[in-house]
């Protein structure tokens, strides 16, 4: 329905472009040079005003109507819904909507069918309203802009101003995304901290939200606050990140040194794409590799050595994550090492130092801030990495430093808490947002520190 409206408006815009152009040319009897703006700009001006406001109205409408419609339904059926918990009300409205517009219906009852019918009629009304509003906006915009087109009219300025506004709006999307992330994380986390005090969350050492439950449905009120302690998750994350960095830092750094200072052109021509491919492989593939190949392999080795290695050991997940991060470390370090001026290397060589001495005693110290920053970014990447640990690390929170045992991480818990059926109000679901907030803060801090390290300690050579 509304799709047709959009298509209609786009057709209108095309027609308006042509009409505006023709009118502009006609207004100077074909002597285009006398126009202030090009005919095409007049056309664009007319098209913008004919379709723009109406399209904006449609976008606005499609954003707000679902909420308004649901609240009207909730209001109209308040007697049926009274006494239901929030999840049930949500399910009721979801089902009603599914019945009205097609979709997966949980189960049907007469009240829901009535709600679906009401939903349908409300939706029809609101569709009619948007059609009317859009057409009125379109017609009045067209009329206004059409009457403006004249020889001296500065259509170009208007068009360019609108375009610039559009460009600014697009750049603001990035800010809006950040604001959206921060606000959604903070709001949901605040709701969580109303149920579980934040010190218990931050410093508690027991994590088992799956067993959280003191009631179900409407009674799900009281929450066992002591099972939301995130220390074991954090420890697990750090353990896996540490193992990953043990693999990635030396290999990545040495690879970068070799490629920038030793490797011949032909070696570089092979090695660079290899690292790029390694970087381009989706993490879910690494996860599969970790879970099905590396973990059983480590388990086998452990058994032959008489060690008890968990099948979801931190070691397997950490090593594979390290492999994933190698190209990240090496490409960042490569940039930093290449940025050290050649004159330093030449000076060192002139004093009789061997290549490795030059690298170890001159290049690396000069590149140190950049390397530290690269490592911090790699740590941040490892902490935020999800799929490898979801597939290869454990689920049970386990406060241990033994890499052979299974540990769980922040990201794993976010996924387990949010995948599958969820009640949006339960502490269990909200805990995921609190974890997300922690994750966001940690990675953000690491990124900022990485940036500051480079800014503060970078040597200026030129």
């Amino acid at each position: 329905m509304v799709g047709y409206l959009v298509v209609l408006l786009l057709l209108l815009a095309a027609a308006a472009y042509w009409i505006g152009r023709t009118r502009a040319i006609a207004s100077v009897n074909g002597d285009v040079a006398r126009l202030h703006s090009l005919p095409g700009q007049h056309g664009m001006f007319l098209a913008l005003f004919a379709a723009g406001p109406a399209l904006l109205a449609i976008v606005l409408w499609s954003l707000v109507t679902p909420g308004i419609e649901s609240s009207i339904i909730a209001d109209r059926f308040s007697s049926e819904l009274s006494g239901m918990g929030v999840p049930q009300v949500e399910a009721f409205i979801r089902d009603a909507r599914a019945m009205a517009f097609g979709g997966v219906v949980g189960f049907a009852d007469p009240a829901k069918e009535a709600a679906a019918a009401a939903y349908k009629s409300i939706h029809t009304t609101s569709t009619w309203i948007i059609w009317a509003v859009a057409l009125v906006l379109s017609a009045s915009g067209f009329y206004w802009a059409y009457s403006r087109i004249a020889q001296a009219y500065r259509a170009r300025h208007v068009v360019e101003r609108v375009l610039r506004a559009f460009l600014i709006a697009c750049s603001v999307v990035a800010i809006l995304t950040t604001i959206g992330i921060v606000l959604s994380l903070i709001f949901e986390s605040l709701r969580f901290f109303q149920q579980v005090p934040f010190y218990k969350f931050l410093f508690g050492t027991h994590w088992s939200p799956q067993s959280a439950f003191t009631g179900a449905g409407t009674e799900a009120g009281a929450v066992n606050q002591d099972i939301f302690g995130m220390v074991p998750l954090f420890a697990g994350t750090l353990l896996i990140t540490f193992i990953a960095m043990l693999v990635a830092a030396p290999i990545g750094l040495m690879a970068a040194i070799y490629l920038s200072d030793y490797a011949s052109k032909s070696v570089r021509a092979v090695a660079k794409p290899v690292l790029e491919i390694l970087a381009g492989i989706p993490t879910v593939v690494y996860g599969f590799f970790a879970a099905l190949t590396v973990a059983p392999y480590f388990r086998g080795i452990g058994e032959s050595l008489g060690l008890n290695v968990a099948s979801e050991s931190a070691l397997a997940a950490g090593v594979v994550m390290g492999i994933m991060i190698i190209p990240f470390v090496s490409s960042l370090s490569d940039d930093v090492i290449n940025a050290v001026p050649q004159s330093l290397r030449d000076g060192s060589a002139g004093l009789g130092a061997t290549k490795s001495e030059t690298i170890r005693k001159v290049v690396l110290p000069a590149a140190l801030p950049g390397i530290v920053s690269a490592m911090l970014l790699a740590v941040s990447r490892a902490i935020g990495e999800t799929m490898i640990v979801v597939m290869a690390a454990g689920l049970a929170a386990n406060l241990t430093a033994n890499p052979l045992e299974a540990v769980t991480t922040v990201t794993v818990q976010i996924v387990t808490l949010l995948v599958g059926d969820q009640e949006f109000d339960s502490a269990k679901t909200l805990a995921a947002f609190a974890l997300g907030l922690v994750l966001f803060c940690i990675t953000l801090t690491l990124n900022i520190v990485a940036l500051r390290v480079v800014q503060k300690y970078r040597e200026q050579y030129d």
Partner: protein
Amino acid sequence: MTDAISSFGAVGRPVSIHTDRAAKARLKGRYRTETWFKWLGAAAVALAGLFLVLLLSTIVTQAIPALRQNYLTLPIDLSAAKVDPAKLDAANYDAIAQEALTAKFSDVTSRQDKRLLRGLISTGTGVFLRKDIAADPGMLGGTVDYAVPLDDFADLYLKGLLADVGSDEAISTSVTPSETSGDIDLTFGDDAMLTLARGHGATEGENGMLTLTSGASSLLVAFNGGMVKLTALSPGTNGTAVAKGTVIEALDSTAPAASGQAFLRVIDTPEASRKISDKMIVWLDTLKSAGLIESRFNSIFFFTGASREPELAGVWGAVVGSFLTMIVTLAIAFPIGVSAAIYLEEFAPKNRLTTIIEVNINNLAAVPSIVFGLLGLAVFLNFFGMPRSAPVVGGMVLALMTLPIIIIASRASLRAVPPSIREAALGIGASKVQTVFHHVLPLAMPGIMTGTILGMAHALGETAPLLMIGMVAFIVDIPGGFTDPATILPVQIFMWADFPEAGFQQKTSAAILILLLFLVIMNAIAVILRRRFERRW
């Protein structure tokens, strides 16, 4: 220089602190360190390469079996008595196919064995049969030879992935059975069989009795047109061996089989540690030697949606879902990203707002992807009430994630256009907007496209944020639109990797191969674009 140290070295030159013995040793040590360091670097690169080879070879070797599927050709009775041409939907096609199969093994009588036998063919057989009949009603009215897909275990066994089966070896002694069916005794002419059973993990009992439990290899003896599975052995009189056994395929007679007439087949993998029983193996081997089983290109895998049954599961639904999601991502991220880059690079004044935007974009690029999933869940699903599992929401989340990548790449590309171009355009009277859109943007386009394709490739492989917005649901239907519930390729891989059935492991690898193929194609396009169109000024 010439006086004090007047001692001379072997070569006759004066020895200084740079040439004395200690210095030489030091130099040697320094060169050794140099070599070590160099080799360490080379080893690091080689190790990275090794990891890549290991990863890819593991996946490719696992994926190859999934590209083919074994089909069993059965004579299916589609006469009017079985299928009423007027009421095609009423017929029980599964039962018809199963009857055709059980008819092949008339000596399988017990209820349990029959169920086992029926399990050889896929549970989706009826669906395929009905579809094919609907497409070609000419099949009705008689008996047709129809190829049905085998069940995943049967299929895996035939691909050699479930059990190690040795080839048949002739037994160099006579074998005499006591009965032709049921539990029987076998008498072997010599006791070589006892040694053999010991070698295959038989449990020693009293009086030299050997029991072949399900933890030991299975020993099957084929003779007289039938097959007997040995369960226990004991030494007989005069150096013979007596074995107890269960007949799997009925023997023709109780006549003794002469030396070289009976064959021993050893299934090395113990029955307890494989997912296919001895009986099923025997039946499958019989069917195979009758030439009824053929291995075909696995069209089910490539052209159908997901399923709980490994042999029926396909990736097409996920591929379509990925495609729809990517369209949404591209439609949102490309125009917004390029516009933002144009504004920041060409128009933006240097003020606080633009600095904030820049810092912001760089930070967004480093936010863990799962956080974008949380954003999608909280904002798109819960605040705006958008549908769960829909490609449109997935596309929006991925678009927000890809946006910083596209903006950064586009800005670099715009920056590379030399100022002379802008000055020339402005000089002949173009407005700022005209300069950018008519001159700078077209020149920067190849670079922008390259960056966009790389960003899209990154988005295509992304999994975690889509788990958050419910794209992990089990969806059988192939999505037809942007708001239909759908799943995408990486999420499908994640789900299959979690399924316990052995058949899914190969399917997962094959799906990974498809995903990697798409990524390779996208990267190749990016490289070609870069090579062909990128200009350096």
